[in-house]
């Protein structure tokens, strides 16, 4: 026989023999009431299973405990992993994460920001679409809501940016590839975000600095179906013939996965000692299971998510950076069979 549901704090306070304001105080911070009082409340809590109404709570706060999490494309396991990690950290910190995916669409991202703004969130962790983002809308949003931007940089926007140092990771791979074989050409798609541009620039600079001719191959496609872009573009490239190198450095792992598929279809053996070598960037969750397993530069997921969350919380609690900060993490070479 379950005790009947308790519908309000008033009712619950009466049942537990404590005044409502004190109960309210307890729910905002259990440690703020006397231990004996706390115990009485928690005993009653077990008996009656009452929870404060979230809408009533948030209506009377200028700021809620909500934290918005926005990623550009959730069907990309990289962002799914990111979201998962970040979500957990928020919950541990006593916040209420709410996850959104822009699905690669400008309008969707804009609507999400609109929606989040209405929720009076304590803060937001946002990985923007990049090129497709409505810069004005994002800027306006970031002026209203404390936002930490990650993965894809938008100049001057948000309280801080946390991401990868492409100018470290790309040369890292180039050095490896040059040391173990021919200098790589660069395979990219139409850049969806600044990372793509930075990586290409890093490639060009590093190659030039090492006395090699940079060779940049561009394949078509401007949506988030990277594998397909790499596959279809890869077929065309292979049929037209690569420039004079047997090594292809793809601007990201998903593109590389598609390209590997194209290589397979054309009967090319990929890997050291094979017909050509292929490398990627990011250490995508599935990169270790491609055939051959993909040599790549691992982004430091853990560090990025940890610092993004920490920075946001320090901003929220007021201890945060008054001046905008940019935190970059280096990559780690992951040597597998593909290059």
């Amino acid at each position: 026989m379950q005790p009947r549901a308790v519908r309000s704090m008033e009712e619950f306070a009466a049942l537990s023999g404590i005044s409502r304001p004190t109960v309210s105080k307890y729910f905002n911070d259990p440690a703020s009431v006397r231990p004996s009082t706390r115990e009485r409340i928690e005993t009653a809590l077990e008996r009656y299973d009452y929870r404060p109404n979230i809408y009533a709570i948030n209506q009377n706060r200028k700021l809620t405990k909500n934290v918005g999490i926005v990623v550009p494309y959730l069907a990309d396991p990289f962002f799914a992993e990111m979201a998962r990690t970040v979500e957990r950290r928020c919950i541990e910190a006593g916040y209420w994460p709410i996850l959104f995916s822009s699905h690669g669409e400008r309008d969707t991202e804009r609507n999400i920001l609109d929606t989040i703004a209405r929720m009076k969130p304590a803060g937001v962790l946002m990985a923007p679409l990049g090129r497709a983002s409505d810069r004005t809308a994002v800027e306006r949003f970031c002026r209203e809501v404390p936002t930490v931007v990650f993965d894809s940089h938008i100049e001057g926007v948000g309280e801080a940016f946390v991401g990868s140092d492409n100018f470290q990771s790309v040369p890292l791979m180039i050095d490896y590839l040059c040391a173990t074989g021919m200098p790589p050409c660069w395979l990219e798609m139409q850049p969806v975000n600044p990372n793509a541009n930075k990586r290409r620039d890093a490639y060009r600079t590093a190659m030039t600095a090492r006395g090699h001719e940079p060779r940049i191959l561009r394949v078509d496609g401007d949506d988030w179906d990277f594998e397909r872009i790499g596959y279809e573009g890869g077929l065309r490239l292979l049929d037209a013939g690569l420039p004079d190198t047997d090594t292809v450095f793809c601007s990201n792992d998903r593109l590389a996965i598609g390209f590997l598929s194209a290589c397979y279809e054309r009967g090319l053996r990929v890997g050291r000692g094979g017909d050509l070598r292929v490398a990627g960037h990011d250490d995508h969750p599935f990169a270790r299971y491609t055939c051959p397993p993909l040599t790549t530069v691992a982004q430091d997921y853990e560090a990025i998510s940890l610092h993004a969350v920490r920075t946001l919380f320090s901003v929220i609690t007021g201890k945060g950076p008054q001046v905008r900060k940019e935190i970059l993490f280096g990559g780690r070479l992951v040597e597998r069979a593909s290059a």
Copy 2:
């Protein structure tokens, strides 16, 4: 010069020259007010950019326009795709979808249901963890909130179940494999949900009915890192030697992707005319980019998501099924190079 922010419906009503109850009526259904009134409100809306406070709105509804979406593991692109499709349909229907991932964890799923219940949602679309689900908690939840269960069945729970017909899809693949080569053995992991069990049973039944000896191979692993399970288990199996067949039917595509990686590592050529054939199940978004591309049975994502959403809305609006319904969709054979 932006006009100052409007903070309440009271204020907005005054600015637009309409009474507050009428404005309230408008926001609940713009078509419920006279066209001339509607126009005046919308003109004012453009000038002042007012939006009703979501917390105040929901506090005064017994039921909100929120729709909870729960998936067991968002880092699986299958569920990410599912979530995306379902999300869009909810928005189009004027609802407010809120996405949750159980991350493969029993406690997380339970907490999510708890959270959702507090939000007074109009309904919920839920793909349960399966074996790891707290059946009692899910049952209790479904008694309180109209829920359509999809992908993974829980007997008797929810207003309806929408999923795949494993007893159609598995024999479909078996017939194809038998017609083009040797009868397949069955590669499975420890079942995380009923689908896995049904597929194995379907395999056994169909093989027996066709006069073939069913051969079931089980690999270790009880988390959601299916690729790793398929890879590591696959290595062990290959080293121990497969039973007398060259054809492996994997219980899902992610497992198959891992197994393909194991085959590659052992130097086995996969595909028709190769050392062995590998088939999967689901038509995972990345299945077409494996090497070789994976022959599989496609789940009808579109049909499942469409029917799940439709069923939920018909239940919400009261036109729905009073008796619990189970809707199953057949699979479609996707013939690629791996088998």
